[in-house]
């Protein structure tokens, strides 16, 4: 009770009879956040989970490679161990020098033997300039690259079939063949010196050899059997796994919760009917039902999601119903009926929000289960199509190489799957503790 020091309070009717328990206004959400943060492990799990989600969502922008773009990776990179650099083919240019005018640069086209799939070295060009010097005439050869760093990839070159007479300013001639071997430094200052009175047409073959690895691109987690970067493949795989898990979880929640609330609110026959179907559904092993469904429906992201919804909705329905049965008996629902609020309003504004906590807990656990189940199905080869590899499919793909010691193809996606599921479960466990009505103050 408020103790009145003055004989008469100024406000006539407004004086509260009992003292307020605490002065600040704490919203249920704020309280929920504080409670959640009490477990450091759960907060750690949440941070990891958020990290995983960010990786998955932004995979197209942050992954080093697009694992779905067949032109982006190459067979020769297949099964490289973690930490390897990307491999290239050596480049070969064959060059014919046209009529040259002193002082004017002429680009020399490569004619054949230039292999594709080397994005850096594709930009290499060789140009020739006829110069008059005090010693006579010479053709200066210059190598340029686009982008310029690609020049660093140039390791060696060979010049073949030069006509008799002209010599090179640097490089080493073969003991008896018409073959000059050049190092990368030799290119810094390279010219063909023409002897006095030489007037023949000059043509020769220039073979440029680039380094075999690309120091600018490392496969930190190795590559798979197709030469894909595992890191990129896993980020995309995570994206597929998470979206399949979340989408199926979301729709299963929507369907299950509506049915569960309906069963609880109306009771009687409706309740019996719905709950018998739920019992039936939960009586079958999840994996079996999913296997049968996919055997009938075939592969595909949509089909996997559909199958996961079918095997999961019953969990949500059961949880929502039992929560709603408890909430429905509470007097605020009767009060709402007394206030002549519509049934729809009572179910969706009063009943549903109060039934949400246990459903959310089941939701997090079920999303983890869905991801694991999808991985299992893909591992068994009936889940997602090969063009959209999920973590499960990646594990499955690498399984054959496991015994050959190429562990990374299977193990890293497996670890990613494990971390994802464990972090979701850590968050789910803490949610259960925080939202448990029996533990609520």
């Amino acid at each position: 009770m408020t103790t009145a020091a003055e004989p008469h309070s100024a406000a006539p009717a407004a004086s509260p009879v009992e003292a307020a328990p605490e002065p600040r206004t704490v919203s249920p959400f704020r309280r929920f956040v504080d409670d959640f943060a009490e477990s450091k492990v759960a907060v750690f799990g949440l941070v990891v989970l958020v990290g995983i989600i960010v990786l998955a969502v932004f995979a197209p922008w942050i992954a080093p490679q697009d694992p779905y773009d067949l032109t982006d990776f190459h067979e020769r990179d297949a099964r490289l161990p973690p930490g390897s650099e990307r491999l290239f083919d050596a480049q070969t240019f064959t060059v014919t020098v046209p009529d040259l005018v002193p002082g004017q640069a002429v680009a020399i086209d490569a004619e054949e033997g230039v292999s594709v799939s080397n994005p850096f070295v594709d930009g290499l060009t060789v140009s020739a300039v006829l110069e008059e010097t005090s010693d006579g005439r010479q053709i200066r050869l210059e190598v340029a690259a686009d982008p310029a760093e690609a020049l660093g990839l140039l390791e060696a070159a060979q010049l073949e079939d030069l006509p008799r007479g002209p010599t090179l300013t640097s490089g080493e001639k073969h003991a008896f063949r018409n073959l000059w071997t050049l190092t990368a430094e030799d290119f810094q200052d390279l010219a063909i010196v023409l002897p006095e009175g030489f007037d023949d047409e000059i043509d020769f073959r220039l073979r440029l050899t680039t380094s075999e690895t690309d120091p600018g691109f490392t496969y930190w987690l190795g590559t798979d059997a197709q030469g894909r970067d595992m890191l990129s493949a896993m980020m995309y795989g995570l994206r597929t796994s998470l979206s399949v898990g979340v989408m199926s979880g979301f729709f299963a929640l929507l369907i299950g919760m509506s049915l569960g609330l309906t069963a609880a609110y109306f009771g009687g026959r409706v309740d019996s009917l719905i709950m018998r179907i739920v019992d039936l559904q939960l009586g079958f092993p999840t994996i079996l039902v999913a296997l049968m469904l996919l055997a009938i429906l075939g592969r595909g992201v949509d089909k996997v999601i559909f199958a996961l919804i079918i095997v999961q909705w019953a969990y949500y329905a059961r949880t929502a119903r039992s929560a709603a049965l408890v909430e429905r008996r509470k007097e605020y629902i009767e009060a709402a009926a007394c206030l002549a609020l519509s049934t729809r309003r009572i179910i969706f504004r009063h009943l549903l929000p109060n039934c949400l906590p246990p459903v959310i807990v089941v939701g997090t656990v079920q999303v983890a289960n869905a991801i694991a189940l999808e991985a299992t199905l893909s591992f068994l080869g009936i889940g997602l199509p090969l063009t959209k590899p999920s973590l499960g499919l990646l594990i499955s793909n690498g399984f054959d190489y496991l015994l050959a010691g190429k562990y990374w193809i299977s193990v890293y996606p497996g670890v990613a799957l494990l971390i994802t599921i464990v972090s979701i479960n850590l968050v789910g466990d803490q949610l259960r503790d925080v939202l448990n009505p029996r533990l609520q103050r």
């Binding site: 509260p16 307020a20 206004t25 704490v26 019996s272 509470k330 009060a335 609020l341």
Partner: protein
Amino acid sequence: MTSAAETEAPPIVALEGVGKRFVKRLDVAMKLANMLGSDLREEVVQAVDDVHMAVREGEVVGLVGESGCGKSTLGRVVAGVHRATSGRMLYRGDDVSHLGDRAARDVRLKIQMIFQDPMSSLNPRFRVADIIGEAPKVHGIVGRGELDGYVDEMMRHVGLDASYKRRYPHQFSGGQRQRIGIARALAVKPEFLVCDEAVAALDVSIQAQVLNLFMRLREDFGLTYLFISHDLGVVEHLSDRVMIMYLGRIVEEAPTEALFATPNHPYTQALLAEVPRLEAKRRAYTPVKGEIPSPLNPPSGCHFHPRCPHALQRCRDEAPVLREIAPGRRSACHLNDRA
């Protein structure tokens, strides 16, 4: 108490032979079990049985009975939370089950209920302002712009500081929560309040404050009350008239003073058996001897006969009817026939 002028107008609420049965039907599994030879029956509870009563405008009627006798169920039927399974209920002379949607809604709003548990009767996810303001807003009782001020006014009526309206129920004490519940009911401009054990869950000191609030609101708003309680002291203090209920039936009905002075029905007499006390201020009552029979399987004839000290053979065979024994007094006991 009743005045002569009031007897002319139709009662604000009248029940005519109202009954409420709860039936727990057999589900498929139980039916299957029955086919295999077990003997499972539907569970039927006649929570309220053939109740006739009339409450006049401005009256406070107390409803007393042991736990499980159907007081709350009767209150819920009156408040429109449950539909009666038999009989009819009249509001100012109109049968409520024959009203159109709009009129039925209006009657429903006119009769509001105050609940026992002040915590579970408030939606924990709503702020006080929403708890009180939802129904007036939805039903257009006040315009959008005035809602805020209206909620403040309701809070002031029940002695709550309007500055607390952004809080959630868990931030209040029990007495304050009950006040919020009262404000929520007041906000739809009711004429009739059903108070179901409305102070039972509160501390004794707070009980008195809330009871005083009820009496003040009665004067300020001209309210009529059906006051359900198992606390005879509270009922005596508050009511103009008392009805005693036993296993779904009204067994005695009388003006408060008369009932406490000369209880007629043996059950009432048992209820009123006082514990001798030194202080004369507050009376204490002993619980009635004997076990309360299961409402699933009530005794035949007069439901009270297994516990009644005066029971006759006739009491086992035949249920006594609630009959007038004096002006304004009714009782259901075969003993009254002998006079």
